[in-house]
């Protein structure tokens, strides 16, 4: 990055008759590891004149041949002797030099360093701990899924918030009113949205069975498309594809508060008897839950956004906390395979707890190996 509009040509007028600073020296380089060969780190010895007055910056200049021409690729302020050039091509030879800039002018280094070459690596060495935890987790999950398929259905404790979903739909049916489902305010790149949409399928199955109208306003277009598929699929699996209303799933607006305005409008005008919030929510959580509460509807919420849980907890009848949201789809479907994955997650929690206890003891004994190993980039 060329910071200075003055650039390498240098229009800084020499001032006060100060002489140009002495050059920096001893430029060395290392290839940045664990990357795709797109960066090199450069380190040099500061100019002997770097005393706070006589040096302003160092320009890092690069060229494809030791003779130049040189281009400034980056700069540092005086007193800094290292920089990573992140704009290199891999497996290409470069030459570097450092030019010292002061109020009195500029001085290029006396020698040129090169050829410098960035290469790529096959494995990111800082991520072994992530790999170990992931392999362990996937191993556990696959094992329990296989054992569930072999006929041993694992036990899952009651999760009251999930049982409340069916209860809420039941009450809406009794009252002859509709069910409102909100799959969160985020796009599909948030896995909570995926979890919410999977729960939507189970909800659609129940509303299809009870023949209760379902309204699903959606904030983002791709989740909207998937929500359509989910609701269709729910009605299909309940054996009532003809009851599916193509207007039940609606695209509203990705603007968080416009979406909220539309939902509160539905709440106070259509008066659904059950509100189900499942997905990723932000500041609007309280507004939805409070407006919903004032209409007297049963409300069940679920989110993994820690900062919003308080607002659902205080204003909803039931709230699924964090992991419970992800567990809900498995729990609702009751499918042995899905439930198997819950058991895998539990086993990894034991591993985490043991790691925390062992790690704290090691740290207390001033042994930092485990902590270091778990540091990632």
């Amino acid at each position: 990055m060329l910071h200075s509009p003055c650039g390498a040509q240098g229009t800084t007028p020499p001032s006060g008759g100060m002489p140009a600073p002495a050059p920096a020296s001893g430029l060395t380089w290392t290839d940045v590891v664990n990357d795709a060969g797109r960066a090199v780190t450069l380190t040099w010895k500061l100019s002997p004149d770097d005393d706070g007055r006589r040096v302003l910056y160092y320009y890092i200049e690069r060229s494809n041949s030791p003779a130049g021409p040189w281009t400034v690729v980056d700069s540092t302020i005086a007193g800094v002797n290292t920089r990573t050039d992140q704009k290199v091509r891999r497996n290409t030879d470069y030459f570097y030099r450092i030019t010292t800039v002061g109020p009195g002018g500029k001085t290029p280094a006396l020698s040129v360093t090169g050829p410098v070459r960035a290469t790529s690596q096959w494995i990111n060495q800082t991520r072994w701990s992530v790999l170990v935890f992931m392999v362990m987790f996937f191993g556990f999950v696959l094992y329990f899924i296989a054992s569930a398929q072999a006929g041993r259905k694992p036990f899952v404790r009651r999760i009251p918030g999930i049982d409340a979903i069916e209860e809420a739909i039941g009450r809406a049916t009794e009252m002859g009113r509709s069910v409102l489902f909100i799959p969160g305010v985020q796009d599909i790149d948030d896995i909570q949205t995926v979890a919410g949409l999977v729960i939507l399928e189970s909800v659609a199955k129940i509303t299809a069975r009870y023949e209760t109208p379902l309204t699903v306003p959606v904030a983002y277009p791709i989740p909207f498309t998937i929500a359509e598929e989910m609701v269709k699929s729910g009605y299909l699996h309940a054996g009532k594809p003809d009851r599916y209303d193509p207007n039940s799933v609606r695209f509203v607006s990705p603007e968080q508060f416009a979406y909220v305005a539309a939902i509160t409008g539905i709440m106070v005008r259509d008066r659904p008897a059950a509100h189900i919030f499942m997905g990723s929510f932000y500041a609007e959580s309280l507004m939805l839950a409070e407006t919903g509460f004032s209409t007297g509807a049963i409300q069940v919420a679920g989110t993994a956004n820690v900062h919003q849980l308080p607002f659902f907890v205080v204003a909803c009848d039931y709230t699924l906390l964090g992991e419970e949201l992800y567990a809900a789809s498995a729990y609702l479907s009751g499918e042995a395979k899905l439930v198997g994955s819950l058991k895998g997650a539990d086993l990894l929690k034991i591993v985490v707890i043991v790691t925390v206890i062992v790690g704290c003891i090691l740290e207390t004994m001033n042994l930092h190996g485990l902590t270091e190993w778990m540091k990632t980039q």
């Binding site: 891999r90 701990s129 607006s253």
Partner: protein, 218 residues
């Protein structure tokens, strides 16, 4: 009072929305629908100019008007952007009933990318990194600090046990998960209290807009 027409519109819409606090009314309904329409339109325009044009159309034009510079091994895969272009158009098959199933290829790509990315992303940032940050010396040399750290560790472990699904919460697990619930409740209460400040600041900001910018009250 301001003589700026736009400011008047902004101030009146602000009042329309505040009126919802009294009850649902035609003014709020008007503002709500206008807001939904304008914001949906805004996001479509935003995605058109910043993604479709910038990330798809421009690179494609460059790739095909100047084929010599195309070098995939250096991360220049511009011509291949035809693939998402075509998949994106396939999304519109949904509008034509019978061949709607073709749109699922695009959905499959989106889901595959984000499921893979987030699985590893969360494994790193919210699993390994959070566990790593919890490994701290239980004795720090100061009694108060040490008690706090020990309390923290107990709270973390008990709250984790609350999320245990495959055993009934009875006996020791029951006690631990109960302690976990206490920690969760303190956390929720604190989270609520912590947020009051910024919410009130937002309201102050809106009132200042009405009082100062619109009514000219200093």
């Amino acid at each position: 009072m301001s003589h700026d027409f736009g400011l008047w519109i902004a101030a009146l819409l602000t009042l329309c929305i505040f009126s919802f606090l009294y009850k649902d009314n035609p003014f709020y309904k008007f503002a709500e629908h206008l807001f939904v329409g304008v914001s949906a339109g805004y996001y479509i325009v935003l995605n058109f100019w910043t993604v479709i044009m910038t990330n798809l159309w421009d690179p494609l034009v460059k790739a095909f008007s100047n084929p010599g510079t195309f070098s995939p091994q250096q991360g220049d895969y511009r011509a291949l952007l035809l693939i998402p272009g075509i998949l994106g158009l396939l999304l519109f098959t949904r509008l034509f009933g019978k061949i709607g199933w073709m749109s699922r290829w695009a959905l499959a790509v989106i889901i595959g990318v984000y499921a893979g990315l987030k699985t590893t992303g969360f494994a790193q940032s919210d699993l390994v990194a959070q566990v790593q940050a919890s490994l701290q010396p239980l004795w720090t040399g100061s009694l108060g600090q040490s008690i706090s750290v020990i309390l923290f560790t107990i709270g973390l472990i008990c709250s984790l046990l609350f999320f245990f699904f495959s055993r009934e919460h009875k006996g020791a697990l029951g006690v631990a998960s109960k302690i976990g619930v206490y920690f969760l409740m303190i956390s929720f209460g604190a989270g609520y209290g912590y947020t009051v400040m910024s919410r009130v600041s937002l309201l102050i900001g809106r009132f200042q807009f009405l009082l100062e910018d619109w009514l000219g009250f200093k």
